[in-house]
Symmetry: C2
Subunit: 406 residues, 2 copies
Amino acid sequence: MIRSRAAVLALLLAGLTPAPLAAQAGRYPVSGPQRLASPEIAADGRVTFRLHAPEARAVSVEGNWEGKKSLALTRGENGVWSAATPPLAPDLYNYAFRVDGLRVLDPGNVESQRGGNQLSSLLMVSGPAARDWDMADVPHGSVEQVWAPAPVLHQPARRMAVYLPPDYHARPARRYPVLYLLHGGGGDEESWLTQGRAAQILDNLIAAGRMAPMIVVMPNGEDGQSRARGSALGPTPSRIQAEQAPGSDARFAVEQPQLPEPYAGHFPESLVRDIVPFVERTYRTAPGAANRAVAGLSMGGAQTVVASASNPGLFGWIGVFSAGGMVGDPAFERQLGQLVAARPRLYWVGAGDADIARLRAAALYKRAKGRGLPATFLQVPGGHTWFVWRRFLVDFGARLFRPEGR
Amino acid sequence: MIRSRAAVLALLLAGLTPAPLAAQAGRYPVSGPQRLASPEIAADGRVTFRLHAPEARAVSVEGNWEGKKSLALTRGENGVWSAATPPLAPDLYNYAFRVDGLRVLDPGNVESQRGGNQLSSLLMVSGPAARDWDMADVPHGSVEQVWAPAPVLHQPARRMAVYLPPDYHARPARRYPVLYLLHGGGGDEESWLTQGRAAQILDNLIAAGRMAPMIVVMPNGEDGQSRARGSALGPTPSRIQAEQAPGSDARFAVEQPQLPEPYAGHFPESLVRDIVPFVERTYRTAPGAANRAVAGLSMGGAQTVVASASNPGLFGWIGVFSAGGMVGDPAFERQLGQLVAARPRLYWVGAGDADIARLRAAALYKRAKGRGLPATFLQVPGGHTWFVWRRFLVDFGARLFRPEGR
């Protein structure tokens, strides 16, 4: 259903009689609901939020910026509420309004992201510190939403996103190395694109010569594929909703922590047996472990640890973002020995300094280094959040597929 | 920022010590905010909406279904409001809650779509009448988000969506015909995917042998590309917002009806001079007008009329959905004569029986038929809406690239 201004435009064009139209075009008023400027981002990083809610009794805005994460809006003229943040550091944020207890997206902002089971409004404060994941006028890669068979998971097909570097289609003889990039618990195949800004990071760093042109495969790593249903391409929402009893939520019910079967696990197995072969027969991939990398964050970091340790020689480059390993467990230690023997090029581990996974990540790094893996560790300020993981993709990605490696 | 249940999962996996975990996994509670089942879709098509809003004074739900489009919710226990629709005909709908005057997406439903300048919650009632655009277990094509240069529009790059049929990657020697599929005013390159369900329609009809395997190119047809900023791949929202004065809305300011210059126009020219050559050098396209189709709805229908009439011999198959032409105008009539001489295979026109564009569409059909074009007309029940346009893609698409044509 289109809105009224669009309908006016459609009528204009559907019944085009050019001379009178040219004269009248400027006279048509903007007939859609007038939207407030929100968020308005000042040059110094201050962000003003506005919401037209004349009947509301209390309005606040909640965002994932540093410091005070909830900000009360004050009621002004005509029922417009507003508030401004202190200057925010350049980065990508998400937020929502809270209106009389109810979480509400910003109607002034159509940019949103899905994270876990909820949508949030999106906000980018530009600046040098966030330049690597800001949109720039550089050659852009394309991103495919593609379905791959998943027999290991007993599912006919699962969706993944595939980043193809800017020159992929124009150079049909060229083969590319591949990074398999895994999201965390509660995420899906869009997480690295929307929250992680992987496409912008790849575009920007490839253009600057700071990253090798590569294919990046972002599969849905939830065994039950309980997110990402229906959105544009996915299964239809009614499927699951029709099956569930009133008051229950099938989407939670199907999602159980998937435990590795020491140490393989459903998704790591599917990655290796379903996804890698599909990618290698579908895209122009360069062969061998030297051209194959895997990395993931949090749950995806644990999947990375499992997939790499249980398949020595498959991945030449391994990135563990905010996750640990089964250090000290005999079965894992045995696998680690096999991994060492396979001589991967890089075993990259990182965590935020306030990250819930910091100690375990540091322990994994120490053990990997001690066993003789080419391990490196990066700690940056921050918690278990995308602020940290975007930086990790920049650092890890820039090291991949280089002769000098680490 | 991940939510608490995801954090629990991440911790579990980051610190994996398998034996104790296996025993404990079942004991971890679902710690995220419990969500209500909404929308709940019964087998007979009744849809129950629920919203937890203990402080609200009035809650309704507004959707684009037939009949009473606004439905009051009643307050039940624990501040949960609910209401059920009568049985809805199988189809894809969108809706939002209205809470004390404020438009609110359904927090129980992460499926949303952007149409024009707003987001809506999405709802699919399955059933035979909507089977063509429901998700099915058939081979799926992939959808690329791709950037193409747009010198005609003086823009370095513009985004479009490209549907590649299921066997595209697996059959690297095969070439495919191409349909250029244009959205309406207020839409963007995602409209045909989210609102039009083009990928599901193509998947389903190709699998059933009812549609020829084809590439479908869905460009952003707003000259100013004023929508679709930032979402996953687009420019950063702050760009426009930082440039605009407080209280104004740059997104409206840049969007002006683009008038054809009798009869070419910016976007139709860009389609022909920027997009078609880009597609033909980027993808494995089959050559010639017999393998090139163009169709569009409303504004995109007008663009289709203009692009086809001003470029006779370029498109062999033409689909005008809910739009008319400049019937009777001498310049257009001259172009129409040239189009007739180029002998396209199909000139398909359609409108809903309550469509604001019905009379003009019928006039265009009559004129095209009268001039000797292989014209066909389809009228279905409905207005100027996606309910009609999804059906048009099914009917028009099934005729394309067939020896029998119309």
